[in-house]
Amino acid sequence: MQDIADLYQAVILDHNRRPRNFGEMENPDRVAVGDNPVCGDHYTVFLQMDGDRIREITFHGAGCAISKASASVMTSMLKGKTLAEIKALYSDFHHLVTSGEIDEGNLSDLSAFAGVHQFPARIKCATLSWHAALNAAERPGEEPEPVTTE
């Protein structure tokens, strides 16, 4: 029996209650907004960069437990990573939330999201902040359009 606890792992409930790196950043190098108008989830991701490496990352906004916990876990893991590393990690994470399969050892707390694949309507919640972070990290200079998952 798949139950609701598969989706809301303890790690997720914890990050939802006490999100890490939560708050606006004073002097961000880059900012991107992620938006799901269908459910009203909306987050802003703030970055400070060292070249193409993330030095500092925070997020702010509101949404469901899955999207908030995902943003919280993500920010905890992206600090110090390069754009290429982020992309690779996102690719593993995306595989995880769509298939439930844990291939890689370096997912760490992200593996708490394995249950999401049983809740297809919630996959977008799990990936929303990632889209925003990638959007910010990839497009230096420009004022990016808000990314949306619908």
């Binding site: 029996m1 798949q2 139950d3 609701i4 989706l7 809301y8 409930l13 939802n16 108008p37 269908v38 459910c39 009203g40 989830d41 909306h42 509101a62 949404g63 469901c64 437990a65 899955i66 809740f119 309507a121 919630r122 919640c125």
Partner: protein
């Protein structure tokens, strides 16, 4: 009700299933209702016996299909108390019916500076078409405000608003987001007193309450079959005959013309002028069966059943801590919408789903109303003929479980 609850439930095949090991409790009726056996069979029966194109043929099947299609129109006219079947235009649903008026009526009558009056509680389908019309014609939109969480229209402002060069007033009969029941007859009367044309969005009322357009006194009224036990893809626009006759056509194509030359055409009379192309024949026939079904139960009985469930749910929810119940204090339709400050609507709905409970979470296509309430979304339970108080008790249990889980 004339039928017992057991017999009603047995008539809806979809209810007889389990979801994640729990009996399905379907509380998403404001989005769409389930279909009784008689409607499903009317659609199949049409395809099995009479399927043919309408209007243009004189062979037996075509004649049967035409008769059945036009009988559905006459039935719809009688169902809502229209004076003639010529006042019924079949559309895909409420949305298309409103778009038809926002296109044909607005293009003909509105000029820059004219105003369209709406309310702050409208469904996007009764808002966005008018935004597009306003952009095309240079007209402006103005809005009757909604009071706070009670979700009532601020009617003391109405006459002044109507007086401000308003040409058309479009509003919902029952709010799909909050369950508010608006005093439609009064609204239409006050509009008529100032020479303002009215459109009633009856998506949430035609299948839930006795309804009579002549009593209401509206000029246009729109509804959807799928929200009243009928098939998807069919609905109707009621329009006062003289108003419909004065309108230009909507779509061009087969069936709606009288005579076609290469460069110009003449239209049929109402309502066919507005129905271009092969219509949704099986949909109209299924809708006919749905109207028969609802009248068999009795719309008065349905109305009191739905409202009783709405009141009961509201009462039970009010007793929960940390829950913000929205909607009117009394006179509530069968809809209970609420906000849990500690749990996002989508988490509520996902969780409830694993208990077999179908709820809706989100903005319910009423983003401006949500903004007015300072919310992104609410959780909504909406009831219909086959729902019971026992289901509501179970639902309240699940909400309590959710509050404890995320608490």
């Amino acid at each position: 009700m004339k039928k017992t609850m057991t017999s009603i439930r047995e008539e809806f095949p979809v209810l007889d299933q389990q979801v994640y090991g729990h009996d399905l409790i379907y509380f998403d009726n404001a989005a769409t209702t389930q279909k009784p056996r008689s409607v499903i069979d009317a659609v199949s029966g049409y395809y099995e016996k009479d399927n043919s194109n309408v209007h243009r043929g004189i062979h037996a099947l075509s004649h049967r299909a035409t008769e059945a299609y036009e009988a559905a129109r006459a039935r719809a006219a009688a169902f809502i108390g229209a004076g003639s079947e010529k006042e019924i235009v079949f559309t895909r649903g409420t949305t298309e019916a409103i778009n038809l008026v926002a296109s044909s009526w607005c293009n003909r009558y509105l000029k820059p500076g004219d105003r369209i009056l709406l309310t702050e509680m409208e469904h996007h389908s009764n808002l966005v078409p008018w935004q597009l019309a306003a952009e095309r014609t240079g007209a402006e939109l103005v809005f009757v405000p909604v009071t706070g969480d009670e979700g009532l229209l601020q009617l003391d402002r109405l006459d002044a608003l109507l007086a401000g060069n308003v040409k058309l007033f479009a509003f919902t009969h029952i709010s799909n987001a909050l369950g508010t029941i608006n005093p439609v007859a009064e609204l239409c009367r006050r509009a008529r007193d100032q020479g303002v044309v009215t459109l009633v969005d009856a998506a949430q009322s035609v299948g839930h309450a006795p309804l009579d357009v002549s009593g209401i006194g509206c000029d246009f009224l729109a509804f959807s079959g799928h929200k009243m036990c009928g098939p998807t893809g069919i609905g109707a626009l009621y329009g006062r005959r003289d108003l419909l006759e004065a309108l230009p056509p909507y779509h061009g194509g087969g069936e709606m013309i009288r005579k076609v030359d290469l460069h110009r055409s003449e239209w049929k009379g109402v309502p066919h002028k507005f129905e271009a192309g092969t219509p949704h024949i099986s949909g109209a026939i299924g809708l006919h069966a749905a109207m028969d079904y609802l009248d068999e139960i009795g719309r008065k009985a349905i109305y009191s059943h739905d409202r009783e469930l709405g009141e009961y749910a509201a009462e039970r929810l009010r007793s929960l801590r940390n829950l913000r119940l929205l909607g009117p204090p009394a006179e509530r339709a069968g809809i209970a919408s609420f906000h849990l400050p500690n749990v996002h609507a989508h988490d509520v709905v996902s969780f409830a789903d694993r208990r077999g409970l179908a709820l809706r979470g989100g903005h319910h296509c009423t983003q401006p109303l949500m903004k007015r309430l300072g919310l992104e979304s609410t959780v909504r339970a909406s009831f219909y003929i086959y729902n019971t108080k026992e289901e509501i008790d179970r639902f309240v249990e699940v909400i309590e479980e959710i509050q404890a889980f995320f608490g």
